[in-house]
């Protein structure tokens, strides 16, 4: 997890930037297992809208989440051009369906700033902070808020 | 006074086995999960004897011994190397690093305990 508030420990962090719902986001590289093309999923009954289903990843059953839908944007209609980012946190593995993956961003940890305060919504709840690169801004995803089990606990 | 042993091994099973064996024999045991952890624990605790695995992440067993022998605190403590190797090469390597003795895995409970008793005078 990036330590956005800790300026004393200025570490080099790497993020993978991605596009979901037409906006820029990024995920810390250490949380990413692999990136693969979209493949059809097995649908789960009684699942929330943003849960697309499960795929077989080398013998493990991995849930796939529509990141855009989870963040409150319109659902993605997946095609072969879409990308699944396999992420792992706390021994839980999930796949995130995104529109595209752009680049690897290397920044110092002090460049990760706190999310500017504003009205809370599905997106702000799921981000840890923001990074300004040149004139662009990218938002750091807080993976633990995306875990399906989190939903069940909350429900 | 209870003889206190620091056991360093990255395998949980070996750590449990060592702890069981040594505690059954009446020693108190601190365990460490790798070489670095081992050196930290060595500095924190007063070990009468150290048992260390050779192949470990972060710092191997010979590195552990070098740190102990090169340090300020309790540098003369007996150190046993726990290893799957055997033979003259091991003996020389262990000796060179400053090991007091070596135990070949899988170890026999009774002989391990008797070696420790001898090396600590317990």
């Amino acid at each position: 997890m990036p330590e956005q508030a800790d300026t004393t420990q200025n570490k080099k962090l790497e993020f993978v930037t991605l596009v979901a719902g037409g906006q820029n986001f990024c995920i810390e590289i250490t949380q990413i297992r692999e990136i693969r093309r979209w493949t059809p999923v097995t649908i789960l009954p009684h699942s929330p809208d943003h849960v697309l289903g499960v795929i077989n990843l080398r013998g493990a059953v991995i849930p796939i989440i529509d990141l855009a839908a989870k963040l409150g944007f319109e659902k993605i209609t997946p095609t072969e051009r879409h990308v699944i980012i396999i992420t792992a946190i706390d021994e839980m593995i999930i796949g995130l369906l995104v529109e595209s993956v752009s680049e690897i961003l290397g920044v110092n940890s002090d460049m990760v700033r706190e999310t500017p305060r504003g009205p809370e919504d599905a997106t702000t709840r799921a981000i840890l902070g923001v990074i300004a690169v040149d004139d662009e801004m990218t938002k750091v995803i807080n993976l633990s808020t995306l875990m399906p089990k989190q939903d069940q606990v909350a429900a | 006074m209870t003889t206190h042993i620091l056991a360093i091994d990255d395998s949980r099973t070996i750590r449990s086995l060592l702890t069981m064996t040594l505690e059954d024999a009446g020693f108190s045991v601190t365990t460490a999960v790798d070489g670095v952890d081992g050196i930290n624990k060595f500095k924190e605790t007063d070990a009468d004897l150290v048992i260390t695995d050779v192949n470990m992440p972060n710092k191997d067993g010979f590195g552990v011994i070098e740190d102990i022998r090169g340090g300020d605190k309790n540098r003369g403590v007996p150190v046993l190397v726990l290893t799957t190797e055997s033979g003259a090469a091991l003996k020389e390597r262990a000796r060179k690093a400053g090991a007091t003795g070596w135990i070949v895995k899988p170890f026999d409970d009774d002989s391990l305990v008797s070696v420790i008793r001898r090396l600590t005078g317990a």
Partner: protein, 703 residues
């Protein structure tokens, strides 16, 4: 701490084995089949528990085991005779010891009201005064020849520790005290090598030569053992002591001894004779021989369970891979004569064999579990004042380790229930023309891919009128509900139901049979009741052989491929329109062999859009559930039956209603595994019955 607990786990696992050995031994003694070795084995089991418990500072356990062990020691040295009174006490002590182990495991304080009387009974056999603990005199024989004749030969050992000796953490004092343990020893030191100026003194230089004369030692092997790590870095010499004059005895302090010609001088003595200094900084600690219980004959291998789980996973992948290959080959449309099919069959066979072998690693006999249950039963009969004979059958039946572990609680509850509520008091039994002594049978057997565990009592049977009244009173059923006997029986499993009018302190511990059912279901098992008024009640638990693999029927519903466990399917039916009849607007019934069975639409239960197929175009899976006698699950089509590897969805996703897990099919796609019980009692069947969480009586109400 995870690690500490894993060591404790090892201890408790070991205790379980020891309790088994103890129980078996005590049984043999009770049946009069015991010999000295049996008593020894029982003694060792108690002793080992005491020893290991001491390492964990489990004082209550240690204290009790000590007394128990002392009595057993008296028995094995024939100071006590195994009469009925003693045997009864030993049996009770065995039960208490097992309880104390359980208490220690659950970190509960021991129940002194139960422990102390038995402790007193044990003391009663030892006489009023506490006798010396057994091990203080038993092992005297092991102390090595301190007072033996010293004319059996000996050795002169001399060594000069050098820099390397000191640099590797060795200590001459410890070597010397180890040598002194080998026999009668005298020690001298040659200090001629010492620098004359103190300033020149370097602590790790080899200035001193130590000479130790040991008598009463037949071989030099133990000496070499002492020098195991240093024989090449301390100029060691070991020479047999010949018929020369016996050395002057210098127990701790070596006096200057210029009159010892027999002693070799490894370093040329230039000037003064060897000077005496204290050989050991502290007196050698008194040799304490701890008893080493004889190792168990059966050799076992301790393996980290994670390794086995990894192997099980890998084998699972192998099975899947094999079905992928099968499917590919079928698609390749090779000629039937192709030898590859024979090879494939071999491959299948081998894969299956490996799988069974791996599964067997996790398999454990139910015997320890059953023995624990017998203890529970004995305690329950004592507490209720009932006379109950407990018999077990099929103790050797093996079940997955996890299953064994998770069965303990439900079985405990059921056994207590059977004795508390099932079996009548002796008076009532006699009045009913039955034997005074009640009987409780606990059995395990393997039946076609499943393990069946039965708990049968010969008590009064379930009181259905009473159960019905309670269910109405608790609002579980409507007062005018029409229920079959079987449905009434299953009310026992309804959450919030408790048969006892008043909560007894034995079985009323805040858990009901619903908890039992939940535990069994979580293991992929089923539980059924059969009861005959006046004759008794039998609970049958059916469990899968392993948790990782099951036989499944491949089905499709709404275009998705899924798996239904074969174990729950009674038969598959392709209904003709005449077999179907409407019940109200939507529901349909299947008529089979004169009975009407409700049909449950799987698509609807899974929240899929309604099927465009009529019921007659679909396939019905007739299943037996706990909640309702039978029901038919409608699916679109069925395919073959095959073994599937069960993958949990719990970790990465969580639990899904109506789905027990997932598997990976030959084409690499995931298929969900249906939980027929959950489907049969799903919310869509009875949305109006909110007070009954599982809605299991909906059809009964409707009828």
């Amino acid at each position: 701490m995870a690690q500490e607990s894993s060591i404790l786990d090892t201890f408790f696992e070991e205790c379980e084995d020891l309790i088994v050995a103890l129980t078996e031994g005590l049984e043999e003694m009770r049946d009069g089949n015991a010999d000295d070795e049996t008593v020894n084995a029982v003694f060792r089991a108690v002793h080992s528990i005491k020893g290991a418990a001491g390492a964990f500072a489990l004082d209550e356990l240690v204290g009790f085991a000590h007394k128990f062990e002392t009595v057993l020691d008296e028995l094995r040295s024939h100071k006590l005779t195994a009469d009925d009174g003693l045997l009864r006490t030993l049996q009770r002590a065995g039960d208490i010891l097992a309880d104390l182990v359980d208490d220690a495991r659950d970190q509960r304080p021991a129940n002194r009201d139960v422990v102390d009387p038995v402790l007193a009974e044990l003391q009663g056999f030892l006489g009023p005064e506490e006798e010396a603990p057994a091990e203080e005199f038993v092992f005297e024989a092991l102390s090595l020849g301190f007072d033996d004749d010293d004319d059996e030969g000996g050795y002169i050992v001399s060594f000069t520790p050098g820099a390397e000796f000191y640099a590797t953490g060795n200590d001459p004092a410890l070597i010397i005290s180890a040598l002194k343990e080998l026999g009668k020893a005298s020690v001298t030191v040659d200090t001629t090598g010492l620098p004359t100026e103190f300033a020149d003194f370097q602590w790790d230089k080899g200035y001193l030569t130590w000479t130790v004369e040991i008598t009463g030692l037949m071989t030099d092997l133990p000496i070499h053992e002492v020098f195991q790590f240093v024989d090449d870095i301390c100029a060691l010499s070991i020479t047999p002591l010949d018929a020369g004059p016996p050395a002057i005895d210098l127990p701790d302090i070596a006096e200057p001894d210029p009159t010892s010609p027999a002693r070799p001088e490894p370093i040329a003595a230039v000037a003064p004779p060897p000077e005496a200094i204290e050989a050991t900084p502290a007196p050698a600690p008194k040799k304490e021989e701890t008893e080493r219980p004889a190792k168990k004959a059966a050799s076992t291998l301790r393996v980290d369970p994670e390794r086995v789980d990894r192997l099980i996973n890998a084998v699972g992948e192998l099975i899947i891979n094999q079905s992928v290959i099968s499917q590919r080959l079928q698609e390749a449309a090779l000629p039937n004569s192709s030898e590859i099919f024979a090879d494939l069959d071999d491959y299948k066979l081998l894969a299956r064999e490996i799988q069974e072998g791996v599964m067997a690693i996790r398999a454990q006999p139910v015997k320890p579990l059953f023995q624990r249950m017998m203890r529970i039963a004995r305690e329950a009969s004592d507490a209720t004042g009932k006379d109950v004979e407990v018999v077990t059958e099929g103790e050797a039946t093996e079940v997955d380790k996890t299953v064994v572990e998770r069965l303990a609680d439900p079985l405990t509850h059921m056994i207590r229930n059977a004795i508390d509520h099932g079996i009548e008091t002796p008076e009532k039994r006699v009045a009913a023309g039955k034997s005074r002594q009640g009987k409780l049978r606990l059995s395990a057997s393997q039946r076609a891919g499943s393990i069946v565990i039965e708990i049968a009592d010969d008590g009064a049977g379930l009181n259905r009128l009473r159960i019905r009244d309670i269910a109405i009173e608790k609002g579980l059923i409507a007062s005018d509900a029409v229920l079959t006997d079987q449905e009434i029986d299953h009310l026992l499993f309804a959450p919030g139901f408790s048969t006892a009018a008043e909560v007894t302190n034995l079985s009323g511990r805040g858990v009901g049979m619903d908890v039992v059912k939940t535990a069994i279901t979580a293991l992929g098992g089923r539980i059924a009741i059969s009861t005959v008024p006046g004759e008794g009640t039998t609970f049958s638990i059916t469990l899968p052989l392993t948790l990782a693999v099951m036989d499944g029927m491949i089905i499709t519903v709404g275009g998705q491929t899924m798996v239904v466990p074969i174990s729950s399917i009674l038969e598959t039916v392709r209904p003709s329109p005449g077999d179907l009849s409407k019940l109200g607007l939507k529901s349909e019934l299947l008529r089979i062999r004169g009975e009407y069975v409700p049909i449950i639409d799987l698509a609807e239960q899974l929240g899929q859009p309604p099927s465009d197929k009529t019921m007659a175009e679909r396939v019905l899976l007739l299943i037996q559930t706990e909640a309702i006698a039978q029901c038919a699950i409608a699916v679109d089509d069925i395919f073959d039956q095959r073994q599937v590897v069960v993958k949990s969805m719990h970790n990465n996703y969580g639990d899904i209603e109506g789905v027990s897990g997932a598997t990976i099919l030959g084409d690499g796609k995931i298929a969900l595994i249906i939980d027929p019980d959950a489907i049969a009692s799903g919310p869509a069947v009875a949305p109006q019955l909110t007070q009954l969480p599982e809605g299991d009586l909906s059809h009964a109400r409707a009828s």
